[in-house]
């Protein structure tokens, strides 16, 4: 520090390190986003519920890592004093309980309604037939026909096992 040219050199080196870090985090965030989008596109054509759930899990992990890079490097939290990091992170850890408790409660409410409220369950199995034509307009005629056909087919398939139950 006593030599001014030495301090300058330090400053230069520090500058380069900061720029390298910004570059690294930018690339990381872009790559993570692109992977997320690829998974999103891939998921459009997948109907297996288990595989969809697995992809969603991966997307959530990628989302959390993006959040980490933004907070740690862009918001500089990683380079702050430990006390500050703790005053931010410890209260936010309440979210672990929030998310777990509320999602659990939501799915429990759904199960209770499906079990004890036959009307609710029935309503959520009735396919809407012609409603699409009201807002879909003439933009996707062919697709609409297919959708209707598909719905009709699915409806029949749904109907049969239900009928059999009554006999």
């Amino acid at each position: 520090m006593s030599h001014p040219h030495n301090a300058d050199a330090n400053h230069e080196a520090n500058n380069a390190a900061v720029m390298a870090e910004i570059k690294k985090v930018t690339i990381l965030l872009s790559v993570l986003t692109i992977v997320e989008l690829i998974l999103g596109f891939w998921m459009i054509g997948i109907s297996s519920a288990a595989l969809r759930l697995a992809i969603k899990g991966v997307i959530i992990i990628l989302m959390m890592s993006k959040a980490f890079y933004i907070v740690a490097y862009f918001m500089h939290l990683k380079h702050e004093v430990k006390n500050l990091i703790m005053t931010i992170i410890v209260p936010l850890s309440l979210f672990v309980w929030f998310i777990g408790a509320f999602l659990w409660d939501g799915s429990s409410f759904k199960n209770l309604r499906n079990t004890y409220n036959p009307y609710f369950k029935e309503q959520s199995t009735i396919k809407v037939e012609k409603k699409e034509s009201e807002h879909g307009a003439a933009t996707h005629g062919a697709e609409k026909h297919e959708a209707v056909k598909h719905e009709a087919g699915a409806g029949e398939a749904k109907q049969k096992p239900a009928d059999e139950k009554y006999y």
Binding site: N15, V18, M19, I22, T26, L29, S30, T33, E36, L37, L39, G40, F41, I44, K56, I59, I60, M63, K66, A67, I70, V71, F74, M75, E80, V81, N83, L84, T87, I88, L92, F95, F98, I99, F102, L103, D105, G106, S107, F109, K110, R113, N114, F120, K121, Q123, S124, T125, I126, K127, V128, K131, E132, E134, H135, T139, H140, A147, E151, A154
Partner: protein, 228 residues
Amino acid sequence: MSTSTTASPNEAKLWGGGKSPFNLEYGKVMMWYFLMSDAFTFGAFLISYGTVRFSTNGWPDSNQVFRSFPFAPEGVHAPLVFVSIMTFILIVSSVTMVLAVHAGHNMDKKGVVRNMILTIIGGIAFLSCQAWEWNHLFHEGAWWGANPFLNADGTASSTNFTNFFFTITGFHGFHVFSGVLINIIMLIMTLLDKFEQRGHYLMIEKAGLYWHFVDLVWVFVFTIFYLL
């Protein structure tokens, strides 16, 4: 850390008085606490969305809802494309904000001005994209209390989907709007040499924290609404 013997001389100095034990300026500490409270607000919104979605049998498929693109011919469906552009706009504007803060560290007024202008342009571009998307959805019949989209399995949907979508993206868009205003004020203050007179660009750092938080929230909103 539990006993005094493990406390390093560094730490003793930190809590010895005379300076911030967080080694951070007061305004920045307060900005962190504000952002933490804001995180709880957004968290409450997103968790209530998740709770309602988990308590319902059917839910609209986001790839069916968000599949439009400006200037695309009728009938062309491009799910995820438009929102991925919005996401990249926000990431890039976050990077230019980091560069502005870094320029401020070096007392480089020119760098601050250039990067603040780029950040403001990014913010305005994001808001324009969102305005287009809202307008488009509105003309498809979606609004608070109106949901033209069926559930993914073809059953009738409730208005929960659109209510949450417009409330949460609206609240986030309002944050982006405030961020753009704050950044414009910071740009004007830089141009008026306010920070040169003060000898530091700490205000740019505080505005930067807020702007990164807006980007952070979008990471969650984007993933939860458009991908999951």
